[in-house]
């Protein structure tokens, strides 16, 4: 009874906030992708024209391919390094807490700032051979991978640490008694039991890598010649850089949303299945 009475009181504020900040813009956004517009209030219906333009736009496809490459590389490196650090820092070494803090700290710095910091560092290194990060797309690519690793490893590490600490020690002891070596323990005991953490970490790294914008804008802004522009940056450039292309930018954004949603659902489905009950 009390629940029923207070239900609106507790749910309404959040619901309203959710609708204003997410629901309405989302639906409006999908609607706008089918229109031609300058500002959001003067839209003219053009059906699928924007989508056709988006897919016949070489920049978009290049950005998609670059993003996919980037995501694959950074998801693998981030998770492996984060897991390795987490295993090390749960072994009861000295100064464990200090290291945890140090590794986590980069995550507290905003993307734009990080981008500029790394631009300075990388340009400083490349100066020795007389070029800058814009010289070649591969500098930009690896620059972004390094930056992303630096930022996300700490966060993922914390999640893995929580997962590893949750494994009951008797299971590890039992495997030791049964004569399992370190690799077998890791493969057959630790990894299956931290699967929930892996699910979360994969989800976070995949979506974050795919949606990367600030760091991309600050580090390379797509240079040279848009070869290092990722999807979000390409959408932004389409929307603001070309008169009459706002709708196309919006269409690209909707396609972008569908891709991200699809990939994360598939990933969640696969990893969820592998989680084991303790």
């Amino acid at each position: 009874m009390a629940l029923k009475k207070y239900f609106p009181v507790f749910v309404l504020p959040t619901l309203i906030a959710f609708l204003i900040a997410f629901g309405v813009p989302f639906i409006l956004g999908i609607f706008l992708s089918f229109t031609e517009f300058t500002t959001v209030v003067d839209a003219k219906w053009v059906a699928f024209e924007n989508y056709i333009k988006a897919f016949s736009n070489a920049d978009f496809l290049n950005a998609l391919w670059f993003t996919v490459k980037f995501t694959v590389v950074s998801v693998i490196t981030i998770n492996i390094i984060a897991f390795a650090l987490a295993s090390l820092l749960t072994k009861g070494l000295k100064a464990t807490n200090l290291f945890r803090t140090v590794f986590f700290m980069p995550n507290l710095i905003g993307g734009i700032v990080l981008g500029y910091i790394w631009q300075l560092i990388i340009n400083g290194v490349l100066q020795t051979i007389g070029v800058t990060i814009t010289y070649d797309a591969k500098y930009g690519f690896w620059g972004l991978v390094v930056l992303m690793n630096w930022q996300l490893i700490g966060y993922m590490m914390i999640i893995y640490i929580a997962g590893i600490q949750n494994i009951p020690t008797d299971l590890q002891d039992a495997s030791k008694v049964d004569g399992a070596n370190r690799w077998q323990t890791l493969k057959n005991v630790t990894i299956p039991l931290v699967m929930p953490s892996i699910t979360i970490c994969l989800f976070l790294t995949i979506t974050n890598s795919f949606k990367l914008f600030d760091q991309n804008l600050a580090l390379t802004a797509g240079a040279p010649s848009k070869q290092t522009a990722m999807l979000a940056l390409d959408i932004y450039n389409t929307f603001y850089g070309r008169i009459g292309w706002e709708g196309v930018g919006q269409a690209k954004a909707v396609i972008f949303f569908i891709i991200v949603a699809l990939i994360s659902f598939i990933q969640l489905g696969i990893t969820h299945k592998r989680e084991v009950e303790q």
Partner: protein, 449 residues
């Protein structure tokens, strides 16, 4: 306890709602039907002065003027979101005929306003057969700024390779090149790191080359095609040949080969960096417009004396350039929002008329904003007196062919970006010059279609 929390939540919620409600109150119409003004300013460097003007206007006329300034390089973004709001800007800025294309549904016809009648040259306005939609409020010029103290030092050298004796005698590309290259040889004697300040190629920092500098060859190309204004010709051009690409290359190579900075490192440089180099006396020349005076003057440890700052036209090697002057024009046009209430439109026009014709307003314009205003309300003595503006004015009076700002009609931001990207690849040596030329013609064509 439960009840207490429930009440607390309800109160918070109500407070939230009423706060939101208040905001939507139309402040626009003003209590006495006078209307109010919302000016979206384009120039961040003078944001504070506009605030002062707004306050002064409120004291004098009792009309509210709200001034919001878009951060550097974000004007279009800010305008796009601001204009969709209930309290949209009543005065905003377009960058010329191309900007008008984007905002034509929002520009009020200003044909019958006094503001338009004040214009010294009515052709400066953005207009078509339907009316007048953008009023320029400032005339600006750009060219190669040089530090005459360093030039004099060079011309006093016993082993100089040229037989002219002062910078004013440079009147074509060949001479400029000779002087610049000889100066590079003597740079340690002259105490400079390079003749030209860094050719900034950072993101968003390439506009001095891909709009301003490129405007020079485009001006000559358009001029050959028709007798009317090159801005109009360029606006109607479906394609360009970039006939004078090699002249453009001439001057650009001169900039980068005699620069303070190695070519490979230019993408890390900003306009501010190069203005600072000039201000500190590390470079003798820099290409920029008269708006850059602030940037030169405010640098700590500034070594350039204001009487030493001079202008020279951008020579590129085109036949007959001996008579060429500076590039003078504007890309700052004021428009009034067509969708604002009538009272607000009237108030906005009145505000601008006050700013550009009343004694108080004009004083702000010449002394604080440092605008060379293109209005007949300004007398001969009502001109800004910073050294660059004075140079522009004196060049306007000379017997020289002033170049129009043909880049006003470059097709889109996308075109400029494509162009900039190609230039960056050229300067760092990853692509050749043919690539730049092809990018310009291709991108122009695709952006115009």
């Amino acid at each position: 306890m439960k009840r207490f929390i429930a009440v607390l939540t309800a109160v918070t919620l109500l407070a939230c709602l009423s706060a939101c409600g208040k905001k939507t109150d139309p402040q626009n119409t003003g209590a006495d039907g006078k209307g109010s003004v919302y000016f979206l300013n384009f120039k961040p460097e003078i944001a504070d002065i506009y605030k002062e003007i707004a306050q002064k206007y409120k004291e004098e006329k009792g009309v509210d003027v709200k001034v919001v300034t878009a951060a550097s390089n974000t004007y279009e973004t800010t305008l796009k979101s601001e204009i969709a709001k209930a309290n949209a800007p009543t005065i905003f800025q377009i960058n010329g005929p191309v900007g008008y294309e984007a905002w034509k549904n929002y520009c009020l016809d200003l044909k019958d306003t006094k503001l338009y009648s004040y214009l010294t040259d009515k052709d400066l306005a953005v207009k078509n057969e339907d009316g007048v939609f953008g009023i320029p409020y400032v005339v600006e010029g750009y060219g190669i700024i040089y530090n005459n103290a360093i030039m004099e030092k060079y011309f006093a050298l016993p082993d100089k390779a040229v037989n002219i004796s002062k910078a004013e005698e440079i009147n074509n590309f060949a001479t400029l090149k000779q002087v610049v290259e000889d100066m590079t040889k003597h740079k340690s004697q002259l105490g400079i790191d390079g003749v030209f300040a860094a050719t900034s190629m950072g993101t968003g920092e390439q506009w001095r080359w891909t709009t301003h500098l490129a405007s020079v060859p485009m001006y000559y190309e358009m001029k050959e095609q028709s007798d009317s204004s090159t801005i109009v010709t360029a606006l109607n051009a479906k394609t360009v040949d970039f006939t004078y690409a090699d002249k453009f290359k001439n001057i650009f190579d001169l900039y980068t080969n005699n620069s303070t900075t190695d070519k490979g490192l230019l993408s890390g440089k900003s306009v501010e960096n190069s203005m600072a180099e000039f201000a500190l006396g590390k470079a003798a020349m820099v290409q920029n417009g008269n708006w850059a005076w602030e940037q030169i003057a405010e640098v700590n440890g500034n070594k350039v004396k204001s009487e030493d700052v001079k202008y020279m036209p951008i020579y590129t090697g085109i036949d007959g350039e001996e008579k060429q002057g500076l590039c003078i024009g504007t890309e700052n046009y004021l428009s009034i929002n067509k969708n604002a209430s009538e009272a607000d439109q009237k108030a906005s026009i009145a505000f601008l008329e006050w700013l550009f014709s009343s004694e108080t307003g004009k004083k702000y314009v010449t002394e604080r904003l440092d605008f060379i205003a293109p209005f007949n309300t300004f007398g001969e003595d009502e001109r800004p007196d910073d050294p660059l503006a004075r140079e522009i004015l004196s060049w306007m009076e000379r017997d020289a062919d002033t170049l129009e700002w043909t880049f006003n009609s470059f097709p889109s931001q996308q075109f400029k970006d494509d162009f900039s990207n190609a230039m960056l690849e050229y300067v760092q040596g990853t692509k050749d010059w043919a690539h730049v030329k092809k990018t310009v013609t291709d991108s122009w064509k695709s952006e115009r279609s």
